[in-house]
Symmetry: C2
Subunit: 279 residues, 2 copies
DNA sequence: CTAAAACCCTGATGCAGGATTAGAGTTTTT
DNA sequence: AAAAACTCTAATCCTGCATCAGGGTTTTAG
């Protein structure tokens, strides 16, 4: 015989797999040693079995589970091979798409952290240019300014449900905010029935998607939802003192939200803002 | 108290997670219920804990493990958050790259199956146009035509090692082949010291990478390595009978290789080919 | 030839992030 | 008060191995 029998260690080294792996493959039945000593249970492999091991490794690289590999090897059916490959292709595409979304989300999170580190002090008022943004808006029956935090949590949960219902990845859920109509802000009536989250520019257009035009904004920074009415009033006073013309709706934007510092409540960093029109 | 205490079931439903998940989060210490009845061990959650659960889910979507999440939640350190995010970003990119390669490999495998299904009979001779191809070549000291299959297996293993050494994904390993110099083929000397595999067109250029120009080829199909010399002779005779001018090296190309049909040896589908020059 | 080194065996456990189930206790509804 | 609905702990399962522990086998060195 030209068949040089190899013990499991040689076989493993020859194919750059581990010994436990070969034993596992034996157990699940995808690569049985061509001879097993009935006395000692030692496994002996033939050089020809390398071909099969190659095939197994190749199929694994294609993303197949050992179960799928076994099925294919058992049936040896070309149709099954093809249908499995096609399903693996779809799967790989889906995973890539998922990871792309994740990557985007991570990048936004990193940006958010950066913003947090360089955030101005609470109460600081600025006038700054804010580029175009896109938001996904949900209308609510209740005015959450009238209620306590638990209502806000519920509404947020509704928004999440809404998004998932649209088949959108939850990963967009990060920075939520609210919108107050211009007139309400001007008279400091804290009444809002709109909650939103920011979405990518390439987010598909939709009834619930609203574009917020770029503009100069008067902004005030704060770090708690509870203080919003007070800070909104300060912002309004600032605009009046400077004779600025408020040209659109008021936005309460959650810049960052790290629930890591306080296990009890949300700890946030907010920016209240109103668009201005000059001349 | 405006704190409505929720039992685990309500909390789970409210946040669309499973009950075992909440229990797990309790156990690993990333989300402890705000009150646990010491008599019954019932867990009671506050609505405010939703924020933290949101954060956990968000971090999970970013690809963090529960251990990493715990670390972040425990330390609440912005530096740690940022470094974790950055490492997750790198990780996600790597995974995407891996999946892209897999996707390409799957597509090639599907093509290979297609080719197998529509393959001509053994012994069929054709003259066909074959587009440009790129191969990764390895030179060998031994002439594997002189030896039996085990030497071929070893050389193949060397090739694999070679590829991995280059940092190339093993997934390219699929269709190998051999090259015979023109003169050797003309006198039917089966002597080859070159084994290769096909690589993508965008594979980086390299000493070992060789381009095979597009051309018309005389081809013969067969399904076993053992018959190669006989079929090579038939191919040569065919070319001579038709007065074709052989313009380059002979290639033995493995079209498909399914080690699923025969657990003992490689079962393949081969195409022997020589480029022709007309006029 | 014998002792030591190197190998091999089975079977158990661990990893991650839960799902599922069993058996027993608790709360809520009828 | 009984039944239904809920909760508890603890165990087991999933994947694809890695890593023991405890005990046999083969090979090599002296």
């Amino acid at each position: 015989m030209d068949d040089k029998m190899m013990k499991i260690g040689e076989m493993a080294q020859f194919n750059r797999v581990s010994i436990p792996t070969l034993r596992l493959y034996d157990k699940v039945g995808i690569l049985k040693p061509c001879y097993t000593d009935p006395e000692t249970n030692y496994r002996y492999y033939s050089i020809h079995q390398k071909a099969r091991l190659d095939m197994i490794q190749y199929m694994k690289e294609l993303g197949m589970s050992l179960g799928e590999i076994r099925e294919i090897l058992e049936k040896g059916d070309i149709e099954l091979i093809e249908s499995t490959l096609i399903s693996k292709k779809r799967q790989a595409k889906e995973e890539i798409a998922q990871l792309q979304l994740r990557l985007g989300a991570i990048s936004r999170a990193i940006e958010s952290v950066e913003r947090f580190r360089k955030a101005p002090d609470c109460g600081m008022i600025t006038v700054e240019y804010i580029p175009h943004r896109k938001v996904y808006v949900m209308h609510t029956d209740t005015n959450f300014y009238e209620h306590d935090i638990s209502v806000y949590e519920e509404i947020l949960e509704d928004l999440k449900e809404n998004l998932i219902g649209q088949g959108l990845p939850q990963v967009y859920y990060c920075n939520a905010g609210t919108i107050l109509e211009r007139e309400d802000f001007l008279s400091l009536r804290m009444v809002s029935h709109e909650i939103f989250i920011f979405v990518d520019d390439n987010f598909p257009d939709h009834d619930s998607v609203r574009n917020i035009d770029s503009a100069m904004y008067a902004c005030i920074y704060l770090d708690s939802f509870d203080d919003e009415p007070e800070y909104a009033a300060r912002l309004l006073k600032y605009c009046q003192d400077h004779n600025y013309t408020i040209s659109g709706d008021y936005i309460c934007e959650v810049l960052t939200e790290f629930n890591v510092f306080d296990s009890e409540r949300r700890s946030m960093f907010l920016r209240l803002q109103v668009p201005l029109k000059f001349r």
